[in-house]
């Protein structure tokens, strides 16, 4: 190994896990994180399905293995170009690094729910997103959420699988998140009615289906298959949803005290800027393009540039963690001249 420095861009769970493994393999990872904390979106989450594990605890646990890793907070990559067999990097804090490999683990950004204006996010008083609700579960106050809601509605696929919103891809985690959050709401407010409006339920992971069955059988959560067409607000501040129940073939109207929008995942805009610096390819969906989507998901088309996590597409937490470990090993092998 000539140059053991590895630049990890993004200190979310992918970056943290990769850095930890790289450290164990004898590399010297440097994490560049744009915010002031590690853990990314997961750090702001409350509990993770399917085991209802505490997300902050997971982040804490992962951070514990990062002793000896340099982390630059509130820092971005200002410039990056190929130099010899590695990369020369300028950071926004003025630091300059020479590294043998770069791991892009910039993750995703949440779809801005106010772009789906018909759902009234930012217009009506009682409309929140999945991430707002999760923060509230975690203890952050939120006056949009009533003290004792009688009826709570969840709308799936807000900004996902939506050509009009410019995102044809499925965000993968929201079906399960909605079910998880619906159950949590029901547990918090046992007398409340909880409704989920979905177009498809994509419950592919271990124990996901059990969650769904439990939500219906044990918690009495209502599932309506059909997209919500519009949301209005009545004089009492209730949110009024209109949808079509496509299984029953009838229009449906619901007065709710709280509406939760399952905002989808988009690629981080900054990632595309990074891609341009090193001439890495961006895919048609805006995420990074892997060398292939089966065998070399971690690899880019440029030597020494690797990917981990949601920067190449929507991912769950376990997928992200597994990919981070794989990327660490790939980088180690790359630095040692092994394919």
């Amino acid at each position: 190994m000539e140059n053991k420095n590895v630049l990890v861009i993004g200190g979310g769970i992918a970056g943290m896990e990769a850095a930890r493994r790289l450290l164990q393999l004898g590399c010297e990872p440097v994490i560049v994180e744009q915010s002031d904390h590690l853990g990314g979106h997961v750090a702001g989450w409350h509990k993770l399905f399917p085991d209802m594990m505490s997300a902050p605890e997971l982040v804490e646990q992962m951070a514990a293995g990062l002793d000896g890793v340099t982390v630059y907070y509130r820092t971005r990559v200002a410039n990056m170009n190929r130099l010899g067999s590695g990369y020369s990097v300028m950071l926004s804090n003025g630091m300059s690094l020479q590294c043998g490999a770069v791991l892009i683990s910039t993750g995703f950004r949440l779809f801005d729910a106010s772009k789906k204006e018909e759902y009234g996010y930012g217009v009506y008083d009682h409309v929140v997103t999945n991430s707002d609700l999760e923060a509230w579960f975690g203890g952050a106050p939120d006056d949009r959420i009533p003290d004792s809601p009688a009826r709570v509605a969840f709308v799936h696929c807000v900004g996902s699988r939506d050509l009009k919103a410019g995102n044809p891809q499925c965000s993968k985690v929201c079906c399960m998140t909605a079910i998880k959050q619906a159950i949590e709401m029901k547990e918090k407010f046992p007398s409340a009615e909880v409704w989920c409006f979905y177009m498809d339920l994509r419950l592919f992971g271990k124990k996901y289906e059990d969650f769904y069955i439990a939500a219906q059988r044990d918690h009495g959560i209502h599932f309506v298959r059909g997209r919500v067409s519009e949301v209005s607000e009545d004089i009492h501040g209730h949110v009024v949803l209109k949808a079509e129940d496509t299984l029953a073939g009838t229009p449906v109207k619901l007065n709710a005290d709280l509406l939760v929008l399952m905002a989808g995942m988009l690629c981080n805009d900054d990632t595309q800027g990074l891609a341009r610096m090193v001439h890495a390819d961006v895919d048609s969906d805006g995420f990074m393009r892997s060398r292939d989507n089966i065998y070399r998901i971690n690899e880019s088309n440029r030597p020494g540039i690797f990917f981990a996590g949601a920067c190449t597409g929507t991912k769950t937490v376990p997928e992200t963690v597994a990919e981070a470990r794989a990327a660490a090993l790939d980088i180690y092998n790359y630095l040692n001249g092994r394919d």
Partner: protein, 680 residues
């Protein structure tokens, strides 16, 4: 003056004569056929308009201005205007002067079609007489004018960019035959008259040319062949004319009186539509204007190609072109002859037959209008109890009509059986009545100042998808102290425009009748609309006696003039996007700008008002997909960015949501901007 031939005839006139008789015969037959195709009432209307002095005078004036002088084209593009008017007006004057010559010098030959055209061959006149000098001078002058026009036309064919046109049409084979024969007519006339000038006289153009030719041509043997050639190209031009774009010359003279008579397209191919198709000169101004031409694949979907395909009878392409169009109306706005591209397309769409036709007759509108009428302050003020009772009755009525399950109110989810369009929960309507009632009561005090106008605010589907607009309109109505009710806050019917643009006119009308019932039943005397798509529909297609239909822009503009609304100017500079339906559709350009100018800074885009570029979100297109629409939206945004404003303002909820999807700067509706800077 002397006639050169006692017979007054030479065989070379035959090609011209054949062409002339053919084209006149064709046109006369065509006129009768089109008159026959017109619906009876339209035909009567048209014929009456022809003998009504006012419209008849207008017809003559319009034909003179548009067909000969091309005034509209001059306003748009001076070079193109000069080119067209020099050819058209020059040719007209040459024909007119030819007839004048025949009238003056040999009135006995007036009945001969060809005499005025070939006057110089048959009659020898001397330019030394005053009459000859003036007439010959004028003849040469107009010939020179035409030749200049033809020269420009040739340059234009080679380099259309010199004329500010990015794209132009590709002429078909027959069009080319017509084009080249048209180009050849006048140089040949110059040659023929020049060769004859030493016999029959000439002026500043023909006499010097004659002198030059005589320097190296010792005899008159080339005299007759040039007259033959002149006659042949005239003949060719007239024989191909009905099958080329030059058919627009006679057709436009029919189109103008028909338009002045107020006719509308009633059949997709026959009658008025036929005249429109034939009137298309194929100039291709609509290609650059069409927002779809942002992409090369859609260039052949603009109006000029629709007309061409209709003339060719290519049904597959006609359907494709008709369905794809956004109906933004820009082609019509820039069209020199006024071909109604959008209406033509809707007419084509209306020819399609569907297996199922929605029927709205079963909708019970009484509860909707009762809920609204109960909400006005007058009703609420008189007997509060009665209003409440009415609302309750209304709620029951809707539940009954929709056949909703009894449990629906309790569960909060109302399933309206049959999907009749009114999916009304009992609680919903009662809530609306209560809500509006409260609003009415609150505004009652202010209403005393404001006058007794009962205002119904109809937001329409699009505003409901952009709730911030509806909220802002209500807030402004509140601030102005209007006695209003949000008519379709909870439940409402579609205005019918999507059905109409899809060509489903009967279904649209049945929906319109239902909406009329709701509005008339509500007791409102003013209907305010925040969506220009609805506004166009209500102002054009609805029969609402005693109800004033007004766009929110005009309405708030009046409030400002009355001092009921005041704004504090913010330092944000907006560029105003004219929505197709409000601008070109309803002619409202000024009031939104006046309002915006009061509330914020205002800038203009490169293309604005009548030339505004469609946002790409239009309901008009039935087949254009999102990828194609995105390109149009971005192109339209580029035009707005050209103003270098900080933000974009518009007055249409559909433009708003379309732009917000891709804009790199804030996009806001007029109502939102006004509400934010409104000072009481």
């Amino acid at each position: 003056m002397r006639e050169r031939f006692a017979t007054g005839f030479d065989p070379f006139v035959l090609p011209f004569l054949i062409g002339m008789v053919f084209v006149l015969g064709y046109c006369f037959f065509g006129i009768f056929r089109i008159l026959y195709q017109l619906p009876k009432d339209d035909r009567r209307r048209f014929l009456v308009s022809l003998i009504t002095p006012r419209t008849a005078l207008k017809n003559v004036w319009d034909i003179f201005c548009n067909c000969l002088l091309h005034v509209k084209l001059w306003k748009r593009n001076k070079l193109l205007g000069f080119m067209h008017s020099s050819i058209a007006f020059g040719w007209f004057m040459i024909i007119l002067l030819g007839h004048l010559e025949v009238f003056i010098y040999c009135p006995e030959r007036v009945h001969l079609f060809y005499y005025p055209i070939f006057f110089n061959y048959f009659v020898a006149e001397n330019e030394s007489t005053i009459g000859g000098a003036v007439l010959f001078f004028l003849m040469d002058f107009f010939l020179l004018l035409i030749l200049t026009g033809i020269g420009l036309a040739i340059v234009k064919r080679v380099r259309s960019r010199f004329f500010g046109m990015r794209r132009t049409t590709r002429p078909s084979l027959l069009d080319r035959v017509g084009l080249y024969s048209l180009w050849a007519i006048f140089p040949l006339r110059l040659l023929a008259e020049s060769f004859t000038a030493h016999i029959s006289g000439g002026s500043f153009l023909t006499i010097p040319a004659n002198w030059v030719f005589r320097q190296f041509l010792g005899n008159d043997l080339n005299l007759l062949p040039t007259w033959w050639a002149y006659s042949i190209v005239l003949g060719v031009f007239m024989v191909v004319l009905p099958f080329t774009r030059y058919m627009h010359i006679p057709a436009e003279m029919m189109l103008i009186p028909m338009r002045n008579a107020g006719l509308r397209i009633r059949h997709p191919r026959k009658g008025f539509a036929k005249v429109q198709v034939l009137s298309c000169p194929g100039c291709g101004v609509c290609i650059d204007a069409c927002p779809m031409s942002a992409q090369k694949v859609n260039i052949k979907d603009c109006t000029v190609y629709l007309n061409r395909q209709i003339r060719r009878g290519n049904e597959k392409r006609i359907e494709e072109i008709s369905d794809k169009c956004l109906l933004c109306g820009k082609c019509e706005a820039v069209c020199q002859v006024g071909v109604e591209g959008p209406r033509m397309r809707v007419a084509q769409r209306s020819a399609r037959r569907y297996g199922l036709t929605p029927d709205f007759a079963a909708i019970d509108t009484a509860p909707l209008s009762r809920a609204a009428s109960a909400a006005f302050s007058g009703a609420a003020g008189a007997t509060g109890a009665a209003g409440a009772a009415g609302a309750a009755a209304g709620a029951a009525g809707v539940a009954g009509a929709a056949g909703a399950a009894g449990a629906s109110g309790a569960s909060g989810v109302a399933g309206a059986a049959g999907g009749a369009g009114v999916a009304a929960g009992a609680a919903g309507v009662a809530g609306a009545a209560g809500a509006a009632g409260a609003a009415g009561a609150a505004g009652a005090a202010a209403a005393g100042v404001a006058g007794a106008s009962k205002v119904a605010f109809f937001s329409g589907c699009m505003t409901r998808l952009t709730p911030s607009v509806g909220k802002a309109v209500c807030s402004l109505l509140d601030k102005a102290g209007a006695d209003y009710v949000w008519l379709d806050r909870e439940e409402g019917l579609c205005c019918g425009r999507p059905l109409l643009t899809a060509g489903r006119i009967d279904a649209a009308i049945s929906l319109i009748r239902k909406n009329e019932e709701v509005i008339l039943g509500s007791g409102a005397d003013t209907l305010v609309l925040s969506c220009p798509i609805c506004y166009k529909m209500f102002s054009e297609r609805y029969a609402l006696p005693g109800v004033r239909v007004v766009s929110y822009a005009d309405y708030f503009d009046e409030f400002v003039q009355q001092g009921r609304l005041r704004f504090e100017k913010s330092d944000i500079c907006y560029v105003y996007h004219d929505p197709c339906e409000l601008g070109r559709g309803c002619g409202i350009y000024e009031s939104p700008r006046r309002l915006l100018g009061q509330a914020a800074g205002i800038a203009e885009a490169e293309k604005n008002r009548e030339e505004s570029v469609c946002c790409g979100g239009s309901l008009g297109s039935l087949t254009l997909d999102f990828a194609h629409r995105e390109v149009i939206t971005r192109k339209s945004l580029e035009n707005l960015y050209s103003s270098r404003a900080d933000a974009i303002a518009t007055a249409c909820p559909l433009c708003l949501s379309t732009f917000r999807r891709y804009s790199d700067r804030p996009v806001r509706d007029l109502a939102e901007i006004l509400d934010a800077s409104c000072r009481l």
